[in-house]
């Protein structure tokens, strides 16, 4: 992840903190904000490139995230995210170990932390325009496997972690009473590393593979359902197109479902 993108993500989060109080209008009783608490689940797949774009595989991740934050009246919202994620790295090939290996071991679980913000920009009739951003850190955890089928049984242990940053504009249609469809276009960056250690007989090796998500522009379509003023359900489907290493276009998808209480 470049320092430039770090700064952009920090700027988005910072804007939320600074503009929130400035744009907030006083609520009854003098409170200008609501607390948000909720939980959600999401699943996404991303095409990964590694080894100087000579190799490609797919990351599939399922996340369960709790959120807590504040939403300022007519202003931005900011939430921190924490939860657990399962990341499936199948197809990642490690050729710098004494015995080259092809990861087919499925998902590895680990904690996930993050933050997200949404900043209202413009309201024209039923159309709301806003900007949003989110950063997620999948911290991963170590897992061990046996390397079998050789003259001796060997040991493998590996740990993968990734960072995902998304930001971009959202258009929401507020013309319906209890639900609001929205569409978003966003930058979607994904970076990470997977470190694999191998030990078999006198042979030992370690390989850190740097990965990046292929495709940096995504789009999503969703629905915000508000049956009560203090409860929201947000469902969203997303697509990230990318150029395959061998040529041609590919598409990776994701979806998420969140429930939020505002109080």
């Amino acid at each position: 992840m470049s320092a430039k993108l770090d700064r952009i993500a920090g700027l988005i989060l910072g804007l939320g903190l600074v503009l929130g109080p400035l744009q907030a209008a006083p609520r009854e009783g003098g409170r200008t904000f609501l607390f948000q608490a909720g939980a959600g689940a999401e699943y996404f797949t991303r095409s990964l490139a590694w080894d100087d774009d000579t190799g490609a595989s797919t990351l599939s991740a399922g996340l369960a995230l709790a959120r807590f934050g504040v939403a300022f009246d007519k202003g931005p919202s900011l939430a921190v995210l924490a939860g657990y994620g399962l990341s499936d790295w199948n197809g990642l090939i490690f050729r710098d170990l004494p015995f080259s290996i092809d990861y087919r071991a499925g998902a590895i679980g680990g904690p996930v932390l993050g933050a997200e913000t949404e900043i209202p920009l413009l309201e024209t009739g039923p159309w709301n325009f806003s900007a949003g951003g989110r950063i997620l850190f999948s911290l991963g955890s170590s897992k061990a496997w046996a390397l079998t089928g050789l003259g001796e049984t060997g040991n493998l242990d590996g740990k993968g972690r990734w960072t995902r940053i998304q930001f971009g504009p959202t258009v929401t249609y507020r013309g319906f009473e209890t639900f609001s469809p929205f569409v978003a276009v966003y930058y979607d960056g994904l970076w990470g590393t997977f470190t694999m250690n191998e030990e078999i007989g006198i042979l030992t090796g370690s390989e850190e593979k740097k990965i990046r998500g292929q495709g940096v522009l995504g789009a999503s379509l969703g629905l915000l359902v508000e049956p009560f003023s203090s409860f929201q359900v947000k469902a969203e489907g997303s697509l990230v197109p990318y150029t395959k290493l061998e040529g041609g276009l590919g598409l990776k998808a994701g979806f998420s479902l969140q429930a939020r209480f505002l109080f």
Partner: protein, 443 residues
């Protein structure tokens, strides 16, 4: 045709030991006939160069029309093949290559447009005699082209094509064949030679083979491959350094062998194949082997064919990969020497390989079937060369360990685990080279 190595004490000679190929051995036999020419197999799959389209215009299309066609797809000219009048154009990143080619094809000025397809080297080489090389790929074929030839057991091979799918190595690694020299003019070897080598028998720079043994060993390790001729070598791209340490009778001495090892190391050889055996240990030879090992060389040696104990240098456990011989059924050769020093085995029965062009006369092609652990060792040497190309950071000990641990324990039914006959087992190129899938859900 089993080669037997005997050590003789030669009175009056300032040598520690000598190696002799048994005079009772019958010479290698030629193949009786050869298969007809087969065309190379080309992959014409869908893979193409991203961002490139090949365009051929109709002859009457003027320059302005051609430029307009490029401009319509935001294309830039990259290359032009004048004789075909075909342009390679670069299209914007992200543009679909097939769609762009289809759109250009609809231009009335364009004769055709197509993706710039990628070809892949076929991992099954097109060498004419490859189908007889059961040692590399055994499909249960007859061993040899002579009526009554035995039939091998499918899969009793070193899985060479599967390994080549991952890599066939490169020419940065040189295999020194310390033997009777190499036929420098052999059509399947000449292009692979790293020079004319060194003759430690006649003390000159011409390691021409006047016996046959070294030429046979060299062909197995690294004959020119995928060249529509002869046989395939294990290490397609490795270079061969001929080093002559056996005379025209197949006899050599420890001092010359030691001197030759040091010379081969000085010439940059990283793999040393010694398909020779001394009955007794020589401190001079051991010192040379130790030096080569410490210089980063993998030393591969045959264990011998007397049915007795492992010969030297194969028995120098700390420095040498000792190779026994199996046959086309994955059975150990009865004459293959045994002992704790045996590390691995490789096919050594009825191995089709190169022989000097003069060896069988002008009426036969210079290829023959040979037997013995001498011809098992170069299979392992070829694999070591590919591993060194693939992972140049590995030490000689690590390369030996990979070859050992990747071997198939083909006699596990009677002798499970490492044993004195075939060590860890018959070598397996697929397991040594190809990324190994792992995970709980695998069968």
């Amino acid at each position: 045709m089993t080669h037997r190595f005997k050590v003789l004490r030669i009175p009056g000679m300032a040598v520690l030991a000598a190696v002799v190929l048994s005079a009772g051995d019958s010479p290698p036999g030629p193949l009786q006939s050869f298969p007809s020419l087969r065309p190379a197999s080309w992959t014409t799959g869908a893979a193409f160069v991203p961002g490139e389209v090949l365009v051929k215009f109709r002859r009457e299309t003027l320059r302005a029309g051609r430029i307009a066609a490029f401009a319509s797809r935001n294309g830039r000219l990259a290359r032009w093949i004048p004789d075909l009048d075909v342009y390679t154009i670069l299209i914007p990143s992200g543009a679909d290559v097939r769609e762009t080619a289809a759109a250009l094809s609809r231009d009335p000025g364009v004769l055709y447009a197509e993706p710039n397809f990628i070809c892949h080297a076929d991992a099954t080489p097109n060498d004419l005699l490859f189908k007889y090389q059961y040692a590399l790929a055994n499909i249960g074929q007859a061993v040899g082209d002579v009526p009554g030839s035995p039939q091998g057991k499918a899969e009793a091979d070193i899985k060479a094509p599967q390994g080549w799918e991952e890599t066939a190595g490169d020419d940065t690694v040189t295999i020194a064949i310390l033997d009777s020299g190499v036929d420098l003019a052999h059509p399947d070897l000449a292009s692979k030679l790293a020079g004319s080598g060194r003759d430690f028998i006649n003390n000159d720079d011409d390691a021409t083979d006047d016996y046959y043994h070294g030429t046979a060993v060299a062909g197995i390790a690294a004959a020119a491959t995928d060249n529509n001729e002869g046989i395939a070598g294990v290490a397609w791209n490795a270079k061969i350094l001929p080093v002559k340490i056996l005379n025209a009778s197949g006899v050599g001495t420890a001092d010359r062998a030691a001197d030759a090892i040091l010379w081969a190391v000085s010439q940059g050889a990283r793999i040393l194949n010694l398909s020779v055996g001394f009955e007794e240990s020589s401190q001079t030879l051991l010192s040379a082997v130790q030096y080569a090992h410490d210089q980063g060389c993998v030393i591969v040696a045959s264990v011998g064919n007397t049915g007795g104990g492992v010969r030297y240098p194969a028995a120098y456990d700390d420095y040498v990969l000792a190779v026994a011989a199996t046959d086309y059924n994955d059975e150990v050769l009865p004459t293959s020497n045994k002992g704790d020093s045996v590390d691995v085995a490789a096919p050594g029965a009825s191995i089709l390989t190169t022989v000097p062009t003069w060896f069988l006369g002008t009426s036969a092609l210079p290829y023959a079937l040979v037997n013995g652990t001498s011809f098992a060792a170069p299979h392992a040497a070829g694999l070591a060369a590919i591993l060194m190309s693939q992972k140049p950071w590995l030490t000689p000990d690590e390369i030996r360990a990979i070859i050992e641990l990747a071997a198939d324990d083909v006699n596990a039914a009677t002798l499970p685990g490492r044993d004195a006959s075939i060590g860890y087992g018959r070598i397996n190129m697929e397991k040594a080279l190809v990324p190994r899938p792992f995970g709980e859900n695998l069968p």
